[in-house]
């Protein structure tokens, strides 16, 4: 028996080694350039760019733009299709005016403008030009040509004369720039891709300089920029945006629960669930540089006071409302991000769990599998009269026996039942309505005893890392990869494997690839 186990292990190691070697040794498959994209700037990208330009204390409360649609699983792809409406442009213009007014107010002008006007009461083209050319270069992601600069300096001048105030003039010009489609719509470029991907912001001064000098077209120059960006604290904001998009947080902006059924799921708790998951991911993937697959097995979680109620763990009273404490939960009760409250609660009903929703979300968010929607004419009468059916397993039995439901629900329900130790608010439980919960289930044919076994099975599933590779690439380049890119994706996943599925190395590999740099025309 032992000999057999050893033999199996040796073979397994050999297979992995060969696969890794194969992937390592192969050169990058050639892919056609993807379509040229034009993305509408998101609320977060806007905020990150404004903070970079003008500092943290600019009030961005008026800069909350409409939610962009999700396309092929990602909002980043929806941004390439989102179009303008009068009300949306109104919002951009209002935000621009509010920010411009703050930039030139007495508290900020001396810090944020690189020069002082000869007279504060009238136009000063020299100083306006200096400020607008610097700022415009970041906003438009390239140096302004002389015609453009004349336009905006002209606005500043006319307004300054009209209002007898140099700074007001500058504010009008800045608001104009920030209302321009040259700022709001981001046309594709290598620098824009890098910066949106890694920082969720427009390119900074140094990256633009690297573009202008041609350094970005050279492998070493590109690598230097990528390494600089990976080492920057701004990487965390970029990765938070990526994780939020992958986990579809936008679709669950406000998860609310029935206060009678789940009193522990307070308003404060609902505000904390996304942050909890993001902290776990940042800690595991960036701080500890862990294996992506272990995100589904880790038992290290972050808890604040509001979430402490849900975990039934006491968080020290000294911990203020926004303080987070790292904790370990029992191994048998955890499956990393799958047992984060954000996942458990978002994919549930307001007052009960939903194995179906959880199974569907698991497959769609992490494995890139599509679970079909129920047919419109499905006969729901089988769900009437649930009296006496105390557990979800008993209630969902109808799916398993009804031929019209069975096909799709086999994809969702068995795997979803492994989550049943967690109620609709993400609280651990062993019984429902007094009946013991049985979490035995299966995932694609493998028997699963409980949630931690499910976490291990997901971590070992090849679809997990293939999906992550695919989504990251789509997020980075702004289009969903097609059949011509399949071979490339397999190759890139090999690179991911070769680096032990560590995120930073993966980002290096992806940004260094030809496919990433291939900007469509």
């Amino acid at each position: 028996m032992r000999v057999r186990v050893v033999l199996v292990s040796v073979v397994a190691v050999a297979v992995v080694a060969v696969a890794v070697w194969f992937a390592w040794s192969r050169s990058e498959p050639v892919v056609p350039a993807g379509p040229a994209t034009m993305r509408m700037i998101t609320t977060e990208q806007y905020a990150n760019t404004i903070r970079y330009l003008f500092g943290e204390d600019i009030d961005l409360s008026s800069s909350r733009f409409p939610l962009l649609p999700r396309k092929d699983g990602l909002v980043a792809l929806g941004a390439t299709a989102a179009a303008m409406t009068p009300s949306t442009l109104d919002m951009f213009h209002r935000a621009a005016r509010s920010i411009a007014a703050q930039v030139v107010d007495t508290a900020h002008r001396s810090l944020l403008l690189p020069c002082r006007p000869d007279s504060i009461a009238t136009a000063d083209d020299r100083c306006a030009r200096e400020f607008l050319s610097r700022t415009g270069r970041i906003l438009f992601r390239r140096p302004l040509d002389s015609g453009e600069l004349d336009t905006y300096v002209g606005i500043a001048g006319r307004a300054a004369v009209d209002r007898h105030d140099f700074y007001e003039g500058v504010a009008y010009a800045l608001a104009g720039m920030m209302t321009s489609p040259k700022f709001i719509f981001i046309t594709d470029s290598k620098a824009a891709r890098l910066s949106l991907f890694l920082w969720d912001a427009l390119p900074d001064d140094e990256l633009l300089s690297a573009t202008q000098s041609g350094a970005l077209d050279d492998a070493r120059g590109l690598r230097a920029q990528v390494d600089r960006m990976l080492a920057s604290p701004r990487l965390e904001q970029g990765m938070r945006a990526l994780f939020s998009d992958l986990l579809r947080f936008q679709d669950f902006e406000s998860v609310t629960k029935d206060a009678v059924i789940y009193p522990a799921f307070t308003f404060e708790a609902s505000r904390a669930v996304h942050e909890q998951t993001l902290r776990m991911m940042v800690d595991h993937l960036l701080v500890r540089q862990g294996d992506y697959r272990e995100l589904f097995t880790t038992n290290r979680i972050f808890v604040n006071r509001a979430l402490g109620l849900i975990y039934g763990t006491s968080v020290p009273v000294e911990a203020a409302g926004d303080e987070w404490i790292a904790q370990r939960v029992s191994d048998s009760r955890s499956a990393g991000v799958l047992t984060a409250v954000s996942f458990l609660a978002a994919h549930s009903h307001p007052g009960r769990s939903s194995p179906t929703q959880r199974g569907k979300a698991l497959r769609e968010s992490f494995l890139c599998q599509k679970v079909p929607d129920p047919p419109p004419t499905v006969d729901f009468s089988v769900f009437e009269n649930l009296a006496g059916k105390l557990t979800a397993r008993a209630r969902l039995q109808a799916h398993a026996v009804n031929p019209a439901c069975k096909g799709c629900h086999l994809l969702t329900d068995p795997v979803g039942l492994a989550f049943e130790n967690f109620d609709g608010a993400g609280q651990f439980r062993v019984s429902e309505h007094g009946a013991a919960i049985d979490t035995r289930s299966q995932f694609d044919g493998q028997p699963i005893a409980d949630i931690s076994e499910l976490g291990r099975a997901i971590a070992a599933d090849p679809a997990l890392t293939a999906c992550f590779t695919r989504r990251l690439f789509a997020y980075a380049v702004g289009h969903d990869p097609g059949t011509a890119e399949q071979e490339w994706l397999i190759w890139m996943e090999g690179r991911f494997a070769a680096h032990g599925y560590r995120l930073k190395e993966f980002l290096q590999e992806m940004t260094a690839s030809k496919a990433f740099s291939e900007v469509g025309k």
Partner: protein
Amino acid sequence: MSRRFDRRTVLRGMLGGGAITVGLPFLECFLDDNGAALANGLPIPTRFGTWFWGLGTNKEQSTPLQVGPGYDIRGELEPLRPVKQHINVFSRFATRTDGRPNFVHHSGVGILRCGQAPTDSKTLPNETIDVTVSDAIGGASRFRSLETTATGDRSHSYSARGPNAVNPPEVSAVAFYQRVYGPEFQDPNSPTFTPNPELMLRKSVLSAVLEDSSRLNRTLGSADRARLDEYFTSLRGMEQRLELMLQKPPPAEACYRPRPAAKDVEEGTNWDLVAARHEALADILVAALACNQTRVFNMIYSWAGANTTRAGLPTTHHTLTHEEARNAQGYQETHSWFVQRAMQSWANFVSRLASIREGAGTLLDNTLVYAHSEHDNAQMHGLDGIPVMTAGRAGGRIRTNIHFEGPDKPATQIGLSLMRAMNLNVGTWGYGSMATSEVVPGLLA
């Protein structure tokens, strides 16, 4: 919800649709040839809006039994009794998908607002009816249209210029008040008017931006060029509205400033929060109509497949429509309870409009509201006879207090009739088997 007891509240009557005060009967002899006119000779603008609620009704106990004028109110429509004289009910009109899938809780919206079934489960296939109307009449007011949703969800809007151009809704009454009645509000009845020089400057900035960016177009693919065109259209619209604000606004005798919302209703989907949010938003919206700040609006009470809840129920209204057994009378009682809450809010909305006196009648007389849901028989995702209603007389161009029965006539007849009532020159509306050039007989006055 605002609680105030001033002259207007008394006029408006009790919220909750109890006793309401209706303006004087609208007398056509007061109108000139072109429609309604004020005592000072200026025409009263006609407004258009939509009101949406999710999951339909239990028609077994809501559809009036009598067809034609003076129909009967029963069951779930009971809250509408006090405002029935302003309302038309449409039953058994057809909403066909023409071979496209029935995208549940979505296709019905597309057919009723766009004239054809959507091709995916998320987007609308073409511009919605409110956008068509606002393109015709919305240019003459400060806002082209105003969108609000009581669900608290910023993605909930059924007003779109196309699949990827959705008009974003207001979810916060505090922010909505600021947008309409903030520092830029110009009281149309103010005796003095000084054009704000800042508006002139802003307009010149926008013109410069437009000129500067007009060359962008040349380097883009066709889809992105179209997106840029949407941008330019929006920018020109913004310029025109600034131009408008540089002129003295025509007086609006019904204009009043609503009380600012002190704070927003807390987040949540419980029905009472939704109802309170609806009242708070309607408070500002109705005033904005009275002050001619917009002529087109969209209000969403609950989303299609509504996730509205009631304390203690483990699931949402939507899940209930699928799981609740029918009672001895053949309908779903808890579902019905939720429908009645929606109808109560709808009645409140109508009575609010009717409580504002304008010209010889009321604001409601000069408004046309298109209200509908997305399914008939939500349990089975039925599309036949999706409940539709209208409220208001569109300045005397619509008859009210009538129950129209389609049998199998395309529901687009309703939309077409409403556009004609708004004076739009639309010959046919809808696509495929939903295309129609016929109006609902007897609806237009």
